[in-house]
C-alpha cells in the first residue's frame, strides 16, 4: 500500500481496522439522491458491477473484486494523495439496495448504502446514497479534500449526476479535448 500521505498525517495512525460503531456514529454523514429514468433493477445492476464504476464515476480510479462481496477501491486524483480501502457488502437486496462497510487495513473507513426505489408517477428510479466516513487517528479526508479542491459532498453529487447521465444516455457530458483560443498552436498567430 502506498503511503504518500501529507506529512502531518501519520500512516501508522491512519491505517486501522474497521470503524467502530462509536466512530461512525460521530462521523460526517452525506445523503444525496438523484432520479434516473430507468427501472430500479437496471440502476441496481449497473451500480452493483463495481469494477465498471470508474468508467463514469471518474473520481474513482479503480475497483477490483477480491471476492463476490469484497472489493478494493482506489482513488488517485491528480492533485490529491492516492487513497485505497477494502469494502465488504454487508447487506443487499437485488433491485432494492446495497450496503457496505470498509474492512481491514484501510486508509479510509466508511460505511454506506445505496437504495433504488421507484419514483412516483412513473418518473423513474430514485437512487439515494448515504455515506458515513471516519478516519481513526487522523484527518485524512479533510486533508485530501483540501488537496483535491473538492468537498466530499460535491464529489458525491458529481458522481451521482454522472451515474444518471450514463444510465440515461450511455455517456457522460464532457468538453475535455475540444478546441479553444487557449490552444497552444495559436501562439504563432497571436504574434502577428
Amino acid at each position: 500500500m502506498r503511503t504518500d500521505l501529507p506529512e502531518n498525517s501519520s500512516p501508522a495512525t491512519a491505517r486501522k481496522s474497521a470503524p467502530t460503531r462509536e466512530q461512525l456514529r460521530d462521523a460526517p454523514q452525506l445523503r444525496e439522491s438523484v432520479t434516473v429514468r430507468c427501472t430500479p433493477l437496471e440502476a441496481y445492476a449497473i451500480w452493483r458491477d463495481f469494477k465498471k464504476l470508474p468508467n463514469f464515476m471518474t473520481d474513482i480510479s479503480q475497483v477490483e473484486m477480491i471476492s463476490p462481496t469484497v472489493s478494493h477501491w482506489t482513488v488517485d486524483l491528480p492533485r490529491g494523495p492516492k487513497v485505497e480501502w477494502d469494502a465488504e457488502i454487508i447487506h443487499e437486496r437485488p433491485g432494492e439496495m446495497i450496503s457496505w462497510q470498509s474492512i481491514g487495513d484501510s486508509q479510509v473507513t466508511q460505511a454506506g448504502s445505496v437504495r433504488f426505489r421507484p419514483a412516483p408517477g412513473d418518473r423513474g428510479t430514485v437512487v439515494s446514497l448515504a455515506l458515513s466516513y471516519a478516519i481513526p487517528g487522523g484527518k485524512l479526508v479533510e486533508v485530501a479534500t483540501k488537496l483535491m479542491g473538492e468537498d466530499p459532498k460535491t464529489m458525491v453529487i458529481t458522481n451521482l449526476r454522472r451515474f444518471k447521465a450514463y444510465m440515461e444516455t450511455g455517456e457522460c457530458p464532457t468538453v475535455e479535448g475540444q478546441p479553444s483560443g487557449r490552444d497552444e498552436n495559436d501562439r504563432e498567430s497571436e504574434t502577428h
Partner: protein, 390 residues
Amino acid sequence: MKALCWQGKHSISMKTVNDPRLLNPHDAVIKVTTAAICGSDLHLYDGYIPTMKKGDIMGHETMGEVVEIGPAVRKTKVGDRIVIPFDIACGSCQHCHDEEYSLCDNTNPNAVMADKLYGHSGSALFGYSHLYGGYAGGQAEYIRVPFVDTNSLLVPSGVPDEKVLFLSDIFPTGYMAAENCGIKRGDTVAVWGAGPVGQMAIRSAFLLGAERVIAIDHYPGRLAMAEKSGAQVINYENSDSLLDELSYLTGGRGPDACIDAVGLEAHGDTFMAQVDRVKAAVGMATDRPNVLRQAIQACKKGGTVSIPGVYGGFLDKIPFGAAFGKGLTFKMGQTHTQRYMKPLLERILAEEIDPAFVITHRIRLEEGPDAYKMFNEKKDECIKVIIRMH
C-alpha cells in the same frame, strides 16, 4: 481551423485553434456553412454573463454539413445538411421526454456549478459560458455537436441556408415567446425590443392569431422593419409616457400579453434605468431590468408577461406587488428549440414566413470582430449579422 474567440469584455478575436474531434459516442463534427451573431452574444461581449474564459469559442446559431459521426449515432449521416439548436439536449432524460429540451438534465458537465447558483442546472448551451457547460460555439469553421440525433434538424435539399439558419435560435425563441402568451382572438401583444428575437416574436404573434402587435424600441430601422411585419410601433424616445400610450392604445385595459425581448441589458431613460446602469457598473446588481418593470406595469389584469430576453442573476426593484395585484402569469426560460424546429421548418416551406427578412449584414469570419462592435453599437442599421463560413 479559424474561430471567433472571446478575449475579454469588448474583445473578440479570430484565432487559429485545433479542429474539433469526436469526444463522446453520440457526437458529430459539422463543417459550418453559415453562422450568425445573436443579440444574446452581446451579453457575453459586454461582460454580463459570468464564467467566460479567455479563448472560449463564440456562437450558438449554426448550420452546416456533417463530416464525422460517433459510433452511437443512429439517424444522422455524414453529408447531411443540418441546423443545430443553440441548447444542447440529451434526448433521453425526463425533461427531454417532456420536450423541455433546454431543461435537459444531462448535458452540462458543470451542472454542479449551476445547481449552486440556480438550485438546478438547465441544459448546456453552445458557446455561452462555463456555467452553461463551456461547449465551444459555432462561429468557427467546424463544431462538435453532442447527441447529434437530438440536436439537429435535417434541411431538405435545395433550401438555402439563409431561409433555415434562424431555426437554430431566434425563430423558435420568438415563436415560443408568442406561444407563451396564450394568444386568443382579439388579443393585443406588446413586444419590447424590435431586435431579431422581437421581430420573430412579432411575426409569430400574428401567425398565432394576434389581432394587433405593438412594437417598442428606439432604433428607427428596427421599428420600420416591425411596421413592415404589420406591427404598430412606438419609439419610446419620442413618447412622453410609454405606459400612458400603451394604456391609451388598448382602451385602458393594457396589452393582453407583454413580451420582454430585451432582457438584462435594457436601455431606457427613466430614473430607474439610470440607477440600474450605475448599480450594474459598480457590481451592486447584475441585471438591468427596466423593460421587465414596464411590462409588468403595462400588462392587462390577468395577462401574461412572456420573457425570451435573457436574465442571468439578481434583479432589483421589480414591482412584484403590481404583478401580484394584477394576477399576472409569467412565462420564461431558454427556448426548447428542438420542439419547434420541425413545425417551424414546415411553416417556412409553406412560405408562411421567411426568417431571412431580419438579415442586414453578410460577412466573412475574419470580419467577425468588427461586426461584434458594429452590432453592439447598433451602427449601420445593423439588425442581424450572418457569417458565411467557407
